[in-house]
Assembly symmetry: D2
């Protein structure tokens, strides 16, 4: 049962990437934007400025850009807007819409066909298999949209070739490709990445740029390529209760994030912190169990060491790993304190 008790953070947290407030530059932008009267519901100066700047990064003028307050709203609205009642989503069984959004997609009436991911990712083969398993029309819902995340829920990223291959199978089968970009910043700022934001636009039909997990207090920007869908999208934002009257609260932050390169700079900082943790843990002889490509570190540590670390740090114990070990998950952000990172690594090294 959900309780409303506050859990004060007892120690330094690597629990998630939304424990911090806004980046100072965004907070300042918010304060500056406060004095004027502005038109409501996203038609204000700041939202418009943010749209212009994001479009500049996308290298394209005629795309719809819509600000919503949360990742779940970005996903649920986008999917509801794209599908007709009998159409279904193909998603990894580890996908955020499957595991962490309280059935929001189903609440808008759509089935999710779960498929097994490879390192958190979908592949053309997996998608084609899902099509093959869901042919018996009209007794089966019709697969119509593919949901992927970049970075994925376990921190891995898609290469340009991988995404292009998925896009191709989507086009061949009239599937809409939708990319959840809650962590698109750390994905595109990853050392392993070979894509730009405009590549993502080219290789998907609809995607979103996460603000909440990369410097903003709240807010995600949904990018809608198809003109007819874009022309109707605001209806869905409003119907889902996600059209904020004072749009500036998101607009001012995104205008700042995309003024120059701040959005990706913050993501790089998060990735650097994760890499430091990952290397430090590996150097102490422990297994880092998934490639650290972005801001998530999965490390297998002895239970005794985990207990010691828990006296000073907060993090998820992800799953048991044999008798004496467990995999822990550490998340970093632009705000991660490098001294705390060093202190964590040091404790790992001191364990024997």
């Amino acid at each position: 049962m959900p309780s409303q008790t506050t859990t004060r953070m007892p120690s330094y947290s690597f629990m998630d990437d939304y424990s911090e407030g806004a980046h100072p530059a965004l907070l300042k932008a918010l304060v500056s934007s406060n004095a004027t009267q502005e038109t409501g519901y996203g038609n204000d100066t700041y939202c418009e400025l943010a749209r212009q700047r994001i479009r500049r990064h996308l290298g394209r003028d005629n795309v719809g850009i819509f600000f919503v307050p949360s990742g779940t709203s970005a996903n649920a609205i986008s999917i509801a807007a794209c599908l007709r009642p009998h159409e279904a989503v193909i998603a990894a069984s580890s996908g955020h819409i499957v595991t962490r959004e309280t059935g929001a997609v189903e609440a808008s009436g759509h089935k999710i066909i779960n498929v097994a991911p490879h390192q958190g990712k979908l592949t053309p083969m997996v998608i084609e298999r899902a099509l093959k398993d869901n042919w018996h029309f009209p007794h089966m819902a019709k697969p119509r949209l593919v949901y992927i995340s970049n970075a994925t829920e376990i921190g891995t990223i898609y290469t340009r070739d991988e995404l292009a291959a998925i896009k191709q199978v989507c086009e061949q089968n009239e599937l809409i490709l939708f990319l959840d970009g809650a962590r698109i910043g750390t994905a595109l700022a990853s050392k392993a990445n070979d894509m730009t934001l405009s590549d993502v636009l080219e290789l998907t039909d609809i995607f979103w740029i996460g603000g909440t997990k990369n410097g903003a207090l709240l807010g995600e920007a949904v990018v809608v390529k198809e003109p007819r869908l874009a022309s109707e999208f605001e209806f869905y934002v409003k119907q889902h209760g996600s059209l904020l009257a004072k749009g500036r609260v998101i607009g001012a932050q995104f205008a700042e994030l995309f003024a120059e390169d701040l959005y990706f700079e913050l993501a790089r900082q998060a990735n650097v912190a994760a890499e430091t943790l990952s290397r430090g843990i590996a150097a102490a002889g422990f297994t880092v169990s998934a490639a650290t490509e972005t801001n998530q570190v999965f490390a297998a540590l002895p239970l005794g060491l985990i207990k010691v670390l828990q006296d000073h740090f907060t993090f998820y114990v992800w799953e048991r790993y044999g008798d004496d070990e467990a995999v822990i998950r550490l998340l970093t952000t632009w705000a991660t304190d490098s001294e705390q990172v060093d202190r964590f690594v040091e404790m790992v090294h001191q364990w024997k």
Copy 2:
């Protein structure tokens, strides 16, 4: 078709009560809250503090309080949470859920039975008539929840007796009473008001306290009295995409609004500005067409005067009134500039 063009405000606006940013005290609270790490999803220090303070105003400890980003989300979530699939809402045909929320209630599956309001308000008689007209079960959806707004969409307010009478008819007929409090501040701060916040709690089953239209950048606080509903409510907030990861963005503002009496102080300021406008216009010999009880003024002015005013002010022309006049709507807030109010009244007086 919704367009994304920005309309810069050309002149001083009396258009609505969400054109301003946050009240400076709330902005300061937001800035102060920024530095620490906090638990996500509404379990942070600030949300908890805000809940404590609101409960103190309510005079009751064991009520659920849930923060959501917008009025539409407050309404849609509350109604979805209260009803089973075959149950319907009774609401005034002028109600916000009927006229300005893109069918969000219907999108969660529920019929709204429209009834005619009296000065924006429902009455026991109107509710009983709706019950009488919707008896043919199971062919008709079952009336189960009554939706009212205080202040109403035209700025009128309920007296304690009026609300008590509605509550009584609800209890006699097993109807849930839900109050939309987007403007509950100006209602309870009205000179005509004879209720406290704890009266509202006593006389309804679920209601919400609007932040967006009374000093906050965003956010509304839904108050849920019934324990079982309160224990499940967070699921609905999350499912509707309205559970913000960084809850502090709403919590810090509400903690400030209810630290002492700021929430009602701001509402009083809005009401005073409206009263000044209303009296000034009436003194110039024009009809103020609905009692100005809160922060909305409806005045019937000559078309020529309206044209002159439009060169300096922005406001809604509500509807034509005879051949040469129209009713305009003016909204005020805590931030309304009293010099602009005086200037507006002066122009009205100078018209001949």
Copy 3:
């Protein structure tokens, strides 16, 4: 609360047009169809035969025809299939989907904009007014489909000109025109009618032909003109639980109804019985309060006479009419016993 107690009919019933079983010819067709093995889910010989015959009556080959078990399923499925999430229906406040289908349209997520009917019918002016009142996008759901019934809920019918005028306003405003044909038989068989079934096809986008109220044990045939919608329609039938495994149970009956002219012959018989009642009552000096164009008679009778009639007949007392009278509703069908009609009229005449 709905109870499961059986009410044995105590006397001859003019209560509704679904108290009878199937017409003998349909029952015989059902029995004949019973012996063979048939492909399931509407792909059987009988459904196909019924489609061919209905298409012959429509004068057009390339329309989708889908069989569903009930009027509510025909309406709910058709509307769900036509609309996107933010789109609304315009309907008369007396419309069956508004008053007698337990919110089935809203349960599939769509708002119904209620408008005032003229003699049970919509007019171009009323539709245009609804458009004018629902322009505030994206805050209002977008009107997209017009729902009408022929015959209407009070038994009146549309002329060809009236329907053409509605179709024109729909085309000018990109509105889909949907016609509920629960009683399309009695409408097209009415003496006042000047349309054929193929006119209805031409002047609407989607409509249905009611079987339940005109000779069949169950079943309605939805006619879908637009090819893309037709190609997907079976998904919606299935998703709503309305795709019967043994399609023959509806197919065999419709094949019989449309073998020659039986469908309209049965409707004519119902209309003749209604006309006899109507004329008889009027001849006795009582007011027949709406034109009897089809199989519904609304008559204003003294309360004392109604009491006498109720000892021998079952019918709805529709509403009070002054102090001493009430309007009663009488429905007739192909199966209405002409001796009972004569007996009813005789009792009316004997009253003094």
Copy 4:
């Protein structure tokens, strides 16, 4: 894309259990019921008689019994009626609601948590594992209802002990147990069965008795144990378009099926035919790949033999099995022609 072309059955069909019409006794009952006027919407003499007789078989008076036209409507309505918006279903990945109902459960807003079946069945361990994997509230939908089928989709059945163990885990975890009884006849008539219909009532919360696949032209009877749910259930039937105006069309058939023991007698005949096929094929030296407990036979046959059989019989080729074989599925009913069974077995034996 669904096509409307009729596929005439070219040969004797073992394809499914709904290719036949009604059992002659039911057809006769339908014909007898045709002459009288009856109250509409399930309140007729025949529905009431059917309820009485089913209650006699259940050994209990105070249960709600509701007739709906199809299996998909029985499942979708029951689940929609039982759940609140944030509650999810646990079901086998092979469950009919997962694989063959066009997302009808999701269309009413509910997530289905897929789990791996054991021989088509759920076990307490699998259910407990699903609970363990779905604990993260409010981010995950709350598991609240367990869906099982008896017989399962592959023809296996639950023993009394197995069902009791599932019921126990449901009670311990406040889960509603719902049983899809599309083939409950063949399950309870199976030689391997040790339950009565009243056991099923005792060990579930809601279940249905399938008519369509066991002698009826259409119709399923949903049995609702909990009084409050039963008191509201008719609303859901109506809202889903499944409340037939002429209820007798289902009522008369169920009254006949449960007059004495006909329902189980028909199921026994189906099982005998399946057993004959199964034994015959096994005697010829081929593998029958799942226990033939009810009316489904799964046999692995050489591709060459399958080709020969297809010249005379229609059946599903279920899946490839090695290089030279495939598993075929044969279904039988009360109407299966024993001569055709013998002919099929003979052809298998003649193959070399």
